[in-house]
Symmetry: C2
Subunit: 239 residues, 2 copies
DNA sequence: CGTCGGGTTGAGTCCATTCAACTTCGGTGG
DNA sequence: CCACCGAAGTTGAATGGACTCAACCCGACG
């Protein structure tokens, strides 16, 4: 049941059976959320962290004028709010973008892991560090890439991340975001978002229909995006 | 000598003398860098992490077309590349923006801390989590705030962060960035950066000369920025 | 069969960029 | 001492990218 989590952590380093057992032991109950629902709401002080088992979720902030910005996308195997374990207060919300199944890990039990299992602690820490690395890549994309390149980069990133947790199908994957939601990922207006998607389609590097993205030309897409997966740290080595 | 670090960590939770000793013990040699020099270069695999003692530094990435984007600013008391302890490979560079004094913490000794000092480990982890929170705030600013609001937000953030480590002087602080560098923080052209600064000056909320920023109207500035410091987790509580 | 949410397209406006000139100021050498 | 130089800051004008407003299409669903 925690396969995705093991795949996620396991991409960076070997995870022992004992460690898997510790993780499993930290989990309490499962829950389902439907699209649009908050897994965690902004301003709350959760006493557990949320592991995505199935579905797509996103962190977001809302401004006074109603503008919304997604700050990350969370795929199966991701701890959506592991950072709240130490940050305590949620300064943003996390919502389901597709029907989600999640399982909760009690902070109290995570704390025990930090007291007793240093290597596993480092792996969890690392997990949040990769999170940060992704944020930095997004900042670069927002600041200095063309909008087309930004979108291309996002597609590359999602494809690679989903592949790790076996959620791709050949060169295709599900991307259950409306164009309005995507616009709130890239920081664009809906209309312009539509045109940027159109541009990528026109170059012929991706096809995009019914919330399924198919990469038609990976090399070209990667080139457009200047995508270099180093930042995802997908190398198995002692940590 | 590690005062800034203690102030930085200490803003989130109590740091014991034993823990301070452990930190001090993790440090090896000191070094100075001049503006423009890389503290850490992209693509390297450092075996130590870099603590800023004095000066301002920044993480950055450079694109093929020569475009540069800063992804964070590091002030005294910040571990510029603590994430490299577990991420291993630097996917970005870190450069000095002003004359910097730094001290290096051996990864081997940080590892010992994770094996023997769980609470201190959590504090270091937390430090990287705040980093992530700042990244998220930057993403929001880049995506959904006006450029003026973005700049205002940056000023608020820097002021608060510098205040923690006692690097403010009343409502003033040093900001040794050229407008070109600032432009690479906000993702703007230099010319427009200049106009945005002009706009903020014109409203009368800040004065800005000789690399010294003075906040003339904090409330108004905070309002323009929609600045809410929650994300910096500046609350002392058990972690 | 009508409605509604999402996607698509066109037109006009505004914001940000580029290119280019000009100023200011600190430093340096004649 | 001052003339010159280069780096940083400032300003204007023209271009182009992104936004808004508005219309229209389409498939799902009642």
């Amino acid at each position: 049941m925690l396969q995705s989590l093991y795949l996620n952590l396991g991409q960076h380093d070997f995870v022992s059976d004992a460690e898997k057992a510790l993780l499993a032991g930290a989990m309490s109950f499962e829950r389902a959320f439907s699209p649009g629902q908050d897994l965690v709401s902004a301003g709350s002080r959760p006493t557990y962290s949320t592991l995505i088992l199935e579905g797509l979720a996103a962190r977001y902030k809302v401004l006074e004028d109603g503008g919304r910005q997604f700050t990350s996308l969370q795929v199966p195997g991701d701890f959506a709010d592991l950072h709240a374990f130490l940050l305590k207060n949620m300064d943003h919300g996390i919502m389901a973008l597709s029907p989600c199944r999640v399982i909760f890990a009690e902070h109290a039990r995570l704390r025990v892991i930090t007291e007793q299992a240093p290597h596993l602690t480092r792996l969890l820490w690392l997990n949040t560090l990769v999170d940060g690395a992704i944020h930095r890549e997004w900042i670069v994309a927002m600041g200095r890439r063309s909008k087309t390149a930004h979108l291309a980069h996002l597609i590359c990133e999602l494809f690679v991340r989903l592949q790790v947790v076996k959620r791709t199908n050949g060169m295709s994957f599900e991307l259950p975001l409306s164009q309005a939601e995507l616009a709130d990922v890239l920081g664009l207006s809906v209309v312009h978002m539509n045109r940027v998607i159109g541009a990528l389609r026109k170059v012929g590097v991706v096809s995009w229909a019914n919330h399924v993205v198919t990469i038609l030309n990976w090399d070209r897409l990667q080139e457009i995006a200047e995508f270099d997966p180093t930042y995802l740290s997908m190398v198995r080595e002692p940590r």
